[in-house]
């Protein structure tokens, strides 16, 4: 469906090299922007494209840029969020590994639009092998006059620096990222003030995701209107979806927004169906922080409309029967997956990654983990299930940063949609206790016997 936009040249051998990239139209957006357009015009073009942040929140990029405080006499910064640590998400890594110049080009054009002369790429520490690739790309761009002083003879100058993190999911949150970039613990800041006013070193700052910034080049190339012509409604353009879990072809796919979820899962162009001929049980469509949906609700909304890969369609039904596009980390579960075990796993992740500033988040995640552990290990009590719902409700909305919500939603949604499975664990503790490790044991025990597994099958 559609022609790839971001990944257009990905199959060309040597495309990581500046020369090859350039010969396929690379850096033309930089020339076009710097030589033919004013910074304001570049910003307008991005607004017109309808581009929305690809880091998770989906905030309109043009609007975010317009908030940048341009009256301040302090320097301004652009920070590229390459911290990618949301479970299920591995698209930025793919983009940077294969098309580093796509990002560099986007950073130059975006910096020009924002009047920024220093740009930092905050890259997660575990992606050490990418540092060399990006450093190489930056150096090549510099050698060819696209970075440094007076780029292309204009009076615009720009330096791009890489800054590695050191293993903390919370540093993906934009204000925690800025703290980390300042050499501190990754504790999110209270907002407002927003980074657009008080960001890095208290200066006006824009933080954008890798994929968002990489899309700026193609937008300038094709024009905002043409980009907005792709996709569906307010979900314009294309999106990278990183698909993983129990599917035949996991990987990163660029889709035009509006692709039906069913086609994405079952078409041989994308995930190519569920592994080993099993059945689809559930999907987390936007990275671990968004609500999980059972098979029937991920394929069709509660109104029985086709569910599409757009921000709006995935949110259709709100918290009762919808989810979110989030970062595009698409995790697929077949019938062998135990939703209690999976929720315990994710909650342990959030307990581990909480920065610890807010009591509801710090204590609540640990408490939920304990209760879930009990249930999964056959020691659950009946009131535990409602207790979990209660804890989740008290975390949500009561914290400094959205991490609290992100920790609460997986639990709340798993119980909402798979309550029978939690009840089964409480009702048959002996059966649950026998099942120790691995999906295989689980499968043989539960085939036919598990009262839940049969319910949501297609």
């Amino acid at each position: 469906m559609g022609k790839p936009v971001l990944l257009e040249h990905i199959r060309i051998p040597g495309i990581r090299q500046f020369g090859v990239y350039r010969s396929h139209g690379g850096y033309r957006p930089v020339e076009k922007a710097l030589l033919e357009m004013s910074p304001t015009e570049v910003g307008q073009e991005v607004t017109r494209s309808g581009l929305r942040g690809r880091g998770g929140a989906g905030f309109p990029t043009g609007l975010k840029w317009s908030f940048l405080n341009r009256k301040s006499d302090k320097p301004r910064y652009l920070v590229c969020n390459a911290d990618e640590s949301e479970p299920g998400t591995f698209k930025d890594r793919y983009l940077m590994e294969h098309l580093p110049h796509r990002l560099v080009e986007g950073l130059i054009v975006s910096s020009y639009a924002l009047g920024v002369n220093t740009c930092y790429i905050y890259i997660r520490g575990e992606f050490k092998y990418l540092v060399r690739i990006l450093e190489h790309a930056i150096r090549e761009a510099k050698e060819n006059g696209f970075l440094g002083e007076r780029i292309l003879g204009t009076d615009f100058s720009l330096e791009i620096h890489l800054h590695p993190g050191a293993g903390a999911y919370i540093c993906g949150e934009e204000t925690a990222l800025l703290e980390s970039l300042e050499g501190k613990r990754g504790n999110p800041r209270i907002k407002p003030p927003y980074p657009a006013y008080k960001g890095l070193y208290d200066c006006p700052t824009v933080v954008n995701n890798v994929e968002t910034l990489a899309a700026v080049g193609p937008i300038i190339n094709m024009g905002g209107e043409a980009y907005a012509g792709l996709g569906k409604g307010k979900s314009t353009g294309t999106k990278l979806i990183s698909a993983c879990g129990h599917i035949n072809r996991p990987g990163v796919y660029e889709i035009e927004m509006g692709l039906p979820v069913e086609e994405f899962i079952f078409s041989d162009e994308y995930c190519n169906g569920i592994r080993s001929g099993r059945h689809l049980k559930a999907v987390i469509p936007g990275g671990s922080s968004v609500p999980v949906l059972p098979a029937d609700l991920i394929l069709r909304t509660a109104k029985n409309e086709k569910r599409l890969l757009t921000y709006e369609s995935l949110e259709e039904g709100g918290f009762d029967s919808g989810s979110m596009l989030g970062s595009g980390g698409f995790i697929v579960y077949d019938e062998t997956a135990c939703m209690v075990r999976n929720t315990l796993n994710l909650t342990r992740f959030y307990r581990h990654e909480s920065c610890g500033q807010c009591s509801p988040c710090r204590e609540g995640t640990g408490w939920m983990e304990k209760v879930l552990w009990r249930i999964e290990h056959g020691e659950g009590r009946w009131k535990d299930i409602d207790l979990l719902v209660n804890i989740a409700r008290h975390i949500e909305g009561n914290t400094i940063c959205p991490f609290g919500d992100a920790a609460a939603w997986p639990v709340a949604s798993a119980i909402r949609h798979f309550r029978e499975e939690f009840e089964y664990h409480v009702e048959y503790p002996d059966e649950v206790r026998v099942i120790t490790h691995g999906n295989l044991v689980r499968e043989t025990r539960f085939t036919g016997g598990h009262p839940v597994s049969g319910i949501r099958f297609r």
Partner: protein, 189 residues
């Protein structure tokens, strides 16, 4: 359970090589004047690699002096981030991803297999000092699960055969001093 560790100095002399010091100075240049604290994370990465594999109090204090920081500023950062080790580790730190996408695709099994093969538990080091086994949260390799890192080098789509091969390779590599590691100092060019 929370264990409180004392901030114990051993007063061993530690210092970067001249080449690394040059890298450190270059890194500081990346940030505005007076903001050299920003270089803390990359410098701690280099320190951990070059000065013994983990961040001892002596190493942290040395980094503090390099960046003109109070020792506590380094200590509080080193304890926040999971890539910094505060205890000695083996030559190869094997970090197995245990988060959901890996866990449902064989991650739990490869962890069990590694424990059995190395005869150690999570957080322990083999008696020969070669391997430390750890679990980590999502490494961003979900589509290539199960995934682990050895000293931040990715190994993906693993099964028991691949693990056997990996351990053999690492053992051979350990015996060969000329084998190159992926170091932070070499990554920043």
């Amino acid at each position: 359970m929370i264990t409180h560790r004392l901030h114990v100095k051993e007063n061993r002399p530690v210092a970067f090589s001249e080449a690394t010091l040059k890298k450190v100075r270059e890194l500081i240049q990346q940030y505005p004047e007076g903001k050299q604290k920003s270089a803390l994370l990359p410098v701690l990465h280099m320190a951990q690699e070059e000065l013994g594999g983990y961040l001892s109090v002596d190493v942290m204090d040395y980094v503090a002096s390099l960046l003109q920081l109070n020792p506590i500023e380094v200590f509080e950062v080193a304890t926040f981030y999971s890539m910094f080790y505060l205890e000695p580790v083996g030559k190869y730190v094997i970090e197995v991803c245990r988060t959901a996408p890996c866990a449902i695709c064989g991650g739990e099994e490869i962890l069990e297999y590694l424990k059995e093969k190395l005869q150690i538990g999570v957080g322990e080091t083999t008696p020969d000092g070669l391997f430390t086994l750890k679990t980590v949260e999502c490494l961003g390799g979900c589509g290539y699960a199960p995934v682990l890192q050895v000293n931040t080098q990715f190994h993906e789509q693993l099964d028991q055969v691949a693990i056997d091969r990996l351990l053999d390779t690492l053992r051979k590599q350990a015996a060969d001093p000329s084998s190159a590691d992926l170091t932070w100092a070499s990554q920043f060019c």
